[in-house]
Structure formats: C-alpha cells, structure tokens
Symmetry: C2
Subunit: 278 residues, 2 copies
Amino acid sequence: MPGGTRATRRREVRVDGEDTIPMRRPDPDSPEGRGGAGIVVPAGPPSTGRAGLDRRRILGAAIEYIDRHGLAALTMRRLGAHLGVEAMALYRYVPGREQLLDGVVETVVDELYGDPEVHLRAAHGWQDYAQRLAHGVRRIALAHPEVFPLVATRPPAAPWVRPPLRSLRWIESFLTVMTDSGFSPEAAVAAYRAYSSFLLGHLLLEVSQKGVQITPEDAPEGVPDTGTDLGQYPLVVELEELLSRDESAAEFEEALENLLDRLESVRAEGRVPGERSE
Amino acid sequence: MPGGTRATRRREVRVDGEDTIPMRRPDPDSPEGRGGAGIVVPAGPPSTGRAGLDRRRILGAAIEYIDRHGLAALTMRRLGAHLGVEAMALYRYVPGREQLLDGVVETVVDELYGDPEVHLRAAHGWQDYAQRLAHGVRRIALAHPEVFPLVATRPPAAPWVRPPLRSLRWIESFLTVMTDSGFSPEAAVAAYRAYSSFLLGHLLLEVSQKGVQITPEDAPEGVPDTGTDLGQYPLVVELEELLSRDESAAEFEEALENLLDRLESVRAEGRVPGERSE
DNA sequence: GTGAACGGGTTTACGCCGTAAACCCTGCGG
DNA sequence: CCGCAGGGTTTACGGCGTAAACCCGTTCAC
C-alpha cells in the first residue's frame, strides 16, 4: 500500500470532476447528507392509531422542540402544549425536568444505532471504525446543534464515561475494537480519552459557531457589522476574512486523520502513549 | 539544542529526587499551585470601608457562589442575599441574569491577565507562549470547575471567537505571536482553531470528570459501586481500574506537546495545514 | 438654608416556572 | 352494577426573573 504508515484515505466524497478548483462541496455530515441521524421516533407500539402519550413520544417531541426553539425555551408546560396535553401529564412518564433532559441526551446519542454507516464492530480495521463513529457523532451534533451542548456538559454516570460517547455500549465497543486491533489496554484507554476529547472539542465549537451566525439580531444597519470597537486589534481585522471562513468539515477530517495517525504509531510501536517516540 | 524538532521541554515540575519511580507529584495547575488564578476581587475603589455594591463585587460574589454551590443554585435573590442586599439592587449594575452570567464568564477568563506565568507576548518562542497560555487556561478551569462549562458553551460574540479564548485581546495576541514566529496567516488561523478545540475538549472533560467523583450521593453502600448492571460489558469491567485512573495532568501535557509538535512541523515546512506532509 | 435632583437600595406586583396533591373520566373485570 | 385503576386535568404552592413604584440620605444650585 502506498503512503507508508499514513492513515488509510477513505470515504472520499467525490462530487464532481476535479479537485483543483476548491468548489463548495457539500458537507458529508450535514443533516440528511447521509445516515439516519435526525429521524427520531418512527412510532410507539403500532396499535394506538393517534395520540397516547408515551415516553418515546415525549422525548422525541422534546428533541424536536429544542431543535426548533432552543433549549431555554423548553418548559414542561410548553412541551405539554406541543403534545396537546397538560404539563402534568408528562410526569406520568418522566420523573421531572432534569430526567427529561437526561432522556433527551440519551435518545439523541442513541441515534448512532440507527446510522447505517456506523458499526459496533470493526469490519474494515479500527481506523475505518473510528472514522465512521466520529462522523456519526458529528452528524448527530449537526442535526441537533441545540442539544449537543447538553450532550457535552451533562454530568456523566461514571467518571470514566466521557461525552460525547455516553453509553457503556459504545465504550465497550470502542475498547474492544482497539484492543482487538493490537492496542495494549493502556493504549486503548488512552486512545479512548484522546478520541473523546477530540470529538467534544471540535464538535462543541462547530455547533456553537453555527449558532452564532444567525443570532446577532439580523444586523439591520447599513454599515456591515462593526459591532465592537475593533481597531486596537489590527491583526484580527486583517485576518477577519480568514477567521470567518467556515472550514469545519475539512478541519474535522484533517484533525481526525491526524489523531488516528498518531494512535496508529502508538499501536505499531507498542508504546504506552506517555512515552516519547524518538 | 538537543532534541531536534521536538517541542522544547520546559517547566518540568521537579519535586523530589528521581523520576523513575512514578510518585504522586502535585498537579502544577491545581488551585493555588501556581499563578494568580483563583483570586478574583482585590477591592473596588478603596474609599468605601464596607459595602457599597459595585459591578466587580457582584461578579466576584457570583463566581464565588457558583464555585461553592453550583451554577443551578445561583439566583438573583440568593446572590442578593449573599451580598446582604435585595435582589433588585443587583439590577442597577447588571441588566439581567443572562448578562450577569456573561460577566461571570468574562471575569473568569480575564483572570488570565493576573497570572504571572502567562504572557501576552512571546518572550521565549511561540511554543513557550502557547504552553504558558494553555496551562493558564487549565488553571482557571480547575479553579472554577462549575464555571468552566459556562465558558465553554455561552455563545461567543463573533463566530470566530472560539472558547475558551473568549476575548479579542487574546486572539490578537495569539495570532500575532504565531505570525511573528513564521506561521503564514492561514497556518496561524488554523493553529488558533486547533488550539482552541484542544483546550476546550480536554478541559471540559477534565472538569466534568472532577465533578462526578464527588456527586454520586456519597455511595453509602457496602458493595463498592455496582450502580448499573454491568456484566454485559466485560472489557469495561476488566479495564475499570485503568479507566478510573486520573491521569489528566500528564495527558494534558502529552496532548498539548503533541499538538505543538504538529504545529511546529506545519510552520517549519511552510505548509498550509490541510496539505499532506508525506 | 432650602428645595430639587439624584444615586442606591427596598417594596410591591406580575407572570411564568416546576411540581405535589386532589380530582375527574372512561373502560373493564368481577 | 360495581369498584377500580390508568391516564389525563385542575388546583395550588413556593420560587423564579424582573418591571414599576417607592423611599431616603447626599449633593448642589440658588
């Protein structure tokens, strides 16, 4: 294979003719770009024709509501109204608001299971596995930008559950794939930590950035945007064009492959990750 | 200088005799370990002997209150009581709760200025600068674990302001140092993005992890901790010891140096970071 | 000296929140 | 026919953020 220890280059997007002209190519993880992230609640038990409250329906509605109106707008009363029901009715299925939010987080993260591109086991090597998982999580983050900060900040069940991978099942899956691929237990755990930090940092910043682009009350003035003083920050002004460019997808890909390369070299050399390579 | 293109190895902690035995050495960024992060409000105008509300005093009290009781416990009424004043009195200095929280975030981040180990300009090279800045931010995160999620998730003023570096001044500083050190504008901006993602991911996970260790209502049972079922996750069980170990400080250092190494190679080769190094 | 203005704090009041408790209502097994 | 239970509603309470009116010591122009 050419490229030495480089990460395998997979899932090229390949949209139109050449790559030399940097055409705007669609983000492969943008909502409905791929995979099943985004569809939430197919149905409850298929018996009842119409309403019938139900925990799954409630969580689905909550997610939809947050996606549409933002987390701060979600109240028990409004969620009830959205479901055509009185607020107190929700309490038969959910102990309270906090646990409702826990359920929202869990439900959103569980969309991973419905994503056909993400697998629990590594059929084509650990790098493919990690790539698919990372993009699956990214798809979720982009599909639910208002929910993702919740995924990131809600205190996990155990100290070693690290968002955004918040379920034992995925942790077990990740560690299994890694150890089966030749990582020592220490290296697998270190990889798990590095991987979760990477995902959390990148995706949290990406969704928060997306959030800001719309919100600044629509900038109705004639002069473009000189909101704050500026001027004492000449380099920021000079680089504003560069700074404002949104290269999230490419950056994510680049940083992810970089991380995987680093992990691969750890694996190949059988090091424990704290050591120097040299 | 020995070490080739390796990141300069600085600020070794050096506590006792040898390094070969991995003794528990203190975290250099733990509260009051170094630097001024943690002290918040020296005084307002030194004239008034006792009370006299004041925006700085309010923000300081709010930070202290959050540090002590958690973010959810902070209400205008309680903060007022904590200051010996009626809630409505706060509104003369702060437009509302949201802006109070914005002020809290800003104040906490501004503790960087008071940290003698962090400099706005690079006196000893960009890597030293970036190291110091990163550890300064980490010190802040560890000093205010309950505030840091706020630092991470509050929507920034502009889309290119990336937490945890939330002030134009530090962005200008960072970009200046990088471009002055031979980074192309593109590379400097890419470095800024990678650096903020790194800090955010690592520190958010670190503080959230710290938060969990205490909270699980003190685990009063005899059997250690078998809270959830487990058992279907044999590898997690097997690696539980490894997973529970807290190596935050070393991991932070290792990942940081790794990032800086990567940036250095980008700088040395004059690449734009998307390109392959080969 | 005196009265108007004013900064800074308090009181009162309103609407919304989460949620405990009591209350219906409808279908169903005996 | 009855009781009962599941599922939704009503009512009620305390706490929240905050608008508006109020009060009261200082200051300052005259």
